[in-house]
């Protein structure tokens, strides 16, 4: 599991995740992702198209990120998750805290609004 960070707009950071959000993947990137998100102060759009698997520890990482951002008045929107990953997020009831939309444009619209 790895991630890249870039500026999507002056007020939105784009994070792209690649790999498995499982226990091993979470251990690998958890601290670095937390640090990266702590900076900037922007809203976050998270591209999940490169994520092949997610389980509870990966969800814990995302939920923790969402809550930390929320405390700072910043929002997190996920987008473009593969079907089985989206299904897992829905199974866990996380789609309210962390909306998962279909595309990058939809994420932009969601965060700009």
């Amino acid at each position: 599991m790895d991630f890249t960070l870039s500026e999507m707009t002056p007020t939105i950071t784009l994070v792209a995740l690649h790999g498995r959000l499982d226990a091993a993947g979470t251990e690998r990137i958890g601290a670095r992702l937390g640090e990266a998100l702590a900076q900037g102060g922007r809203h976050v759009a998270m591209d999940l198209s490169g994520v092949s698997f997610i389980a509870s520890m990966g969800m814990r990482l995302l939920v923790g990120s969402a809550r930390t951002l929320q405390q700072q008045g910043r929002r997190l929107v996920l987008f473009d998750a593969p079907e089985l990953v989206l299904q897992a997020l829905q199974d866990a009831g996380l789609d309210l805290l962390m909306p998962c939309v279909e595309s990058r444009d939809a994420a932009l619209a969601r965060l700009a609004g």
Binding site: A23, F53, M57, R60, L84, A88, L97
Partner: protein, 145 residues
């Protein structure tokens, strides 16, 4: 194993010891992938099996006995025409997954374990637990798509 009469004798299977932790989880995944290779296992089925392995092995790792950092687990996988059988045996403290309260998502850390078990429950068609000879024995069945 669900009593051997539940699984056809000719169904491919594998049985191995792994440690409950990241290294053991990787070994378990590889054993599953070897069993499934070339046998037309659907994507959803494969995801569900990997989810079960991840959640239950990590659960043993996190809630097992103090002692070895990665307690040994015996894993059995059976690939039948209509379902995948997963059996996980560990020597940790008694663990009854069906007694776990459905945790509310009030706290991310506290809820992680509950969330994992709920995910398993959503993805298996049968989940039996037994305490046999000082071991937890989990027997799960995942429908094949």
């Amino acid at each position: 194993m669900p009593r051997s009469r539940d699984w056809p004798a000719e169904a491919p299977r594998t049985r191995l010891q792994v440690t409950a932790g990241l290294a053991g989880l990787e070994a378990a995944r590889q054993a599953w992938q070897r069993l499934a290779a070339g046998r037309a296992v659907g994507e959803r089925t494969a995801y569900r099996v990997e989810l079960v392995l991840e959640e239950l092995l990590m659960n043993v790792a996190l809630h097992g006995l103090p002692g070895p950092a990665a307690p040994p687990v015996t894993l059995t996988l059976v690939l039948a025409d209509d379902a995948v059988g997963v059996q996980i045996e560990d020597e940790g403290p008694p663990f009854d997954p069906h007694a776990e309260p459905a945790a509310q998502a009030a706290d991310a850390d506290a809820d992680a374990g509950g969330r994992g078990l709920r995910l398993v429950r959503r993805n298996v068609r049968r989940w039996q637990h037994a305490r046999e000879g000082g071991r937890n024995v989990q027997r799960l069945e995942i429908a094949r798509d």
